[in-house]
């Protein structure tokens, strides 16, 4: 990504970032777009399936690289200087990311996707000085991984229906309940938990947020095995977990506002399609080779499906360009990121099913042939893409209500006490 000529400070920032990266990392060899069929790892992964020792090494490498960034002032580009940031714009952040993408550095997603991208800004916005001093520098220096203790078995799309309780206990709180679909909990030192503190208030108004020490007694983290066979996520059981009151984030019963800050910082998967093994597998060059290798390049029906998919993939990429261009021009973000997320999930799903059709019966069982059974991994991962980070239905509600201004569902009760909603069964609805 070239720097914008209208920003003189940006040129200096780019030069500084370039010097830092040159000194601390090696440039990636140019990755050819050309696909050599039958060569390379026969895996099409979306979710990690690393054995524990490999995963532990990756987490250690991620923490170490974040430390290097932090020590050179690139650890928290948009953050305030008193907590280790350098107070630059989101555009600087984007520019740095695109520069770093040219180098071979460890993937720091385990730190950044949840902790640095969502929890950090939430603590910054709602935390006491003491909480901010205690956790923010440690997080952005790569020492502390944070997870998000939001979803529950009974509170998915309807997050405000959560029932994990926090009750006063002397100068602190006792937490009791169950969280689910918690990414990176097994590596996390802290978690941001939403708990019900007053069931007699309406459901959005009786929730409080806490920073929980994940090593505290009563925190039980269990891997949640998903349909792919791997265990990317966790269930977190909280049994009489004591949290000091100074670890409360925001006012008592003011947790919904805290949650909204976190969710607003949920970075849309803009540009995500190009990245990773799954993105490359459903991109045109690889799918074309798949057709060729299977003698289907003259099959008009297969070509048509390939072309339809490619058209939508390219257009989604253009949508991301447009969003980035607007962002750089200082315009308010439009609905692009929500649309992009919908399209991304649909395109990846279509790609997996197209490949499955081409591979045919050799997808049913592992014949050992390269480029066949490997598709099962992606095929089994794609349903999650239309659920995680906001289900497709919720994303469409958001587009319809916030962008188009259509009326909300009249049945959503924001006034009755939460306790009564539960009794009438409406909390689960």
């Amino acid at each position: 990504m070239p720097s914008e000529p209208d920003d003189s400070g940006m040129d200096q920032f780019v030069a500084e970032a370039r010097a830092f990266l040159d000194a601390n990392a090696t440039r990636r060899a140019h990755i050819s777009d050309e696909v050599v069929w039958g060569e390379g790892e026969d895996r099409i992964t979306y979710f990690s399936t690393d054995p524990p020792e490999v995963e532990a090494a990756k987490v250690a490498a991620a923490k170490a690289w974040q430390k290097v960034r932090y020590d050179s002032d690139f650890g928290w580009i948009t953050g305030p200087p008193e907590f280790g940031g350098r107070s630059l714009s989101s555009l600087h952040d984007l520019v740095y990311d695109s520069l770093e993408a040219e180098y071979d550095v460890p993937d720091t997603g385990v730190l950044s996707l949840i902790g640095l991208g969502m929890i950090g800004p939430t603590i910054l916005a709602h935390g006491t000085e003491e909480l901010k001093r205690r956790y923010l520098p440690a997080m952005y220096a790569g020492d502390v991984i944070a997870c998000q203790l939001f979803s529950e078995p009974g509170a998915g799309s309807d997050l405000a229906g959560l029932t994990t309780r926090a009750v006063r206990d002397g100068d602190g709180w006792l937490l009791e309940g169950q969280k689910v679909w918690t990414s990176v909990a097994q590596h996390a030192a802290i978690g941001l938990a939403l708990c019900r503190t007053d069931p007699d208030k309406p459901k959005h108004k009786g929730i409080t947020a806490f920073v929980v020490d994940m090593s505290a007694p009563g925190v039980d983290i269990r891997p949640l095995r998903q349909m792919t066979g791997g265990a990317e996520f966790n269930e977190v059981f909280l049994t009489d977990v004591r949290v000091p009151d100074d670890h409360r984030l925001g006012p008592v019963d003011g947790g919904w506002g805290v949650a909204l800050t976190t969710l607003m910082n949920e970075r849309a998967s803009v540009g995500g399609e190009g990245a990773g093994a799954a993105g490359r597998a459903v991109a045109l060059p690889f799918l074309t080779e798949l057709l060729r290798a299977n003698g289907r390049l003259e099959d008009a029906a297969a070509r048509r499906r390939l072309a339809e998919l490619y058209a939508d993939q390219a257009a989604t990429e253009y949508l991301n360009h447009q969003a980035l261009r607007r962002f750089r021009a200082g315009q308010q973000p439009g609905p692009e990121s929500s649309v992009s997320k919908l399209m991304y999930a649909q395109n990846l799903t279509r790609g997996a099913h197209l490949a499955a059709e081409i591979v045919g019966p050799r997808l049913v069982a592992d014949t050992g042939e390269w480029g066949t059974f490997a598709w099962t991994e992606l095929l089994l991962a794609t349903p999650a893409l239309r659920i995680l980070g906001g289900t497709e239905e919720i994303m469409k509600n958001i587009l319809a209500e916030r962008v188009l201004g259509l009326p909300k569902e009249p049945s959503i009760d924001t006034k009755s006490p939460f306790r009564e909603l539960r009794r009438s069964g409406r909390a689960e609805a």
């Binding site: 390939l306 072309a307 339809e308 490619y310 257009a315 253009y318 447009q322 469409k396 188009l404």
Partner: protein, 397 residues
């Protein structure tokens, strides 16, 4: 649009370039004009008129707004802007389904003349087009319905061994956009040198032209029968292929903008109706089944808008834009599909009222399907996209 514009060298010429603010200003000016002169009643009146469009509105578009000149070269009376600016204008016209010779004259014919590199033809024709005095069109009468100018597939040919500047044409062009009223017709015909571009002056030549009953009521199509019709060479003998290729890139991109304009109008109409139409004691837009339909329409429109915008930037050679060959093919496919889907869903959101003749929904549905098929349709545009993206063509093709 002559104030404070930058210029940029593109394809060996200097092209004027509007800033974002100027594009917005242009959009507003065209929208304001069309909202007063081309509301639904005016569009319906034009549809029922003999020519199929309102002559007075066309004259005002040229004289008051100067739109035909916008993207023509400055050497021939134009303002020298590009497809980015042209797309803004076309998008607004698409929004109201303006019946007009603008697309056939400015997008099809003028682009062909410029692309032919024929200075004489440009001198003869472009100033009149820029001023709105001349209407024109282009046809590539491929019998298979695509716009591929391939030898042996064209319905019109040069008689005898004529290959000079003046020839005689014979044959039929079955589907000519605004062919019933155009003053000048540019036509790709088979000649001994291969497919070649010719100019036929409709004010003198005795061509039989028949306006056909059309699916799209807001864009007229005519059949032209050529019997010993004198025509004049444009460009080089046998030189039609690269000209048509350029026209298709520009025209599908402009069409994409027009489709996005039409699709956005459908989305807005459907959304407004979903907010006001009450059933079961509540607005139908509060039901998720309807709400999600509208969200799907919005998603399609956003993606199509991005595809059309990037394609226009790519054709104009804006730095950082994608490969124009791929981007134009992407835009043509995605915007064709999006407009069709959104125009169809618009009728569903409206229910019974949307199926009436009085409601404009069918006018958009008609335009959506006709423009999707104008340059050959899905069978053609998906294969073109694959070819542009580097996938080996079908051996049988």
């Amino acid at each position: 649009m002559s104030t404070g514009t930058g210029t940029r060298a593109a394809a060996g010429t200097t092209r004027a370039e509007a800033s974002d603010a100027e594009l917005t200003e242009l959009r507003t000016a065209v929208r304001d004009f069309l909202s007063s002169r081309a509301d639904e009643a005016a569009v319906r009146a034009a549809v029922d008129s003999e020519r199929g469009y309102d002559d007075k509105v066309w004259a005002q578009i040229a004289a008051e707004l100067g739109l035909p000149a916008l993207a023509l070269p400055t050497a021939y009376g134009g303002d020298g802007y590009g497809v980015v600016e042209l797309s803004v204008v076309i998008g607004e016209m698409g929004r109201v389904l303006l019946p007009s010779p603008f697309f056939s004259t400015v997008v099809l014919a003028a682009t062909a003349i410029v692309a032919s590199g024929d200075a004489g033809a440009a001198e003869r024709l472009l100033p009149g087009i820029a001023a709105g005095a001349t209407t024109a069109t282009l046809t590539v009468p491929n019998r298979a319905g695509s716009w591929e100018p391939a030898t042996g597939t064209l319905g019109v040919h040069v008689t005898g061994s004529g290959s000079g500047a003046e020839v005689v044409l014979e044959g039929t062009a079955p589907l000519v956009v605004e062919g019933g009223t155009a003053d000048v017709v540019l036509i790709v015909a088979d000649s001994p040198a291969g497919p070649t571009l010719y100019e036929v002056d409709m004010t003198t030549a005795g061509v039989a032209r028949t306006t056909l009953r059309g699916l799209d009521l807001t864009r007229r199509i005519a059949r032209m029968d050529f019997r010993d019709v004198p025509a004049r060479l444009v460009g080089e003998p046998g030189g039609a292929a690269p000209v048509v290729a350029r026209v298709l890139d520009v025209a599908t991109t402009a069409l994409a903008a027009e489709q996005v304009g039409g699709a956005r109008a459908c989305l807005e109409t459907a959304t407004a109706y979903a907010k006001e139409r009450m059933q079961f004691g509540r607005p139908i837009g509060s039901f998720q089944a309807v709400k999600h339909k509208c969200a799907d329409m919005l998603a399609r429109v956003q993606v199509a808008d991005a595809a059309a915008t990037e394609a226009a930037r790519a054709v104009d050679g804006v730095p950082g834009s994608p490969d124009p060959g791929v981007a134009t093919a992407v835009a043509h496919a995605v915007c064709s599909e999006a407009f069709m889907a959104v125009a169809a869903e618009n009728i569903q959101v409206h229910g019974g009222i949307g199926f009436t003749w009085e409601h404009p929904a069918h006018l958009y549905y008609r335009r959506a399907k006709a423009s999707q098929l104008l340059f050959g349709g899905p069978a053609v545009y998906y294969e073109r996209l694959l070819r542009r993206a580097g996938v080996r063509p079908l051996r049988t093709a």
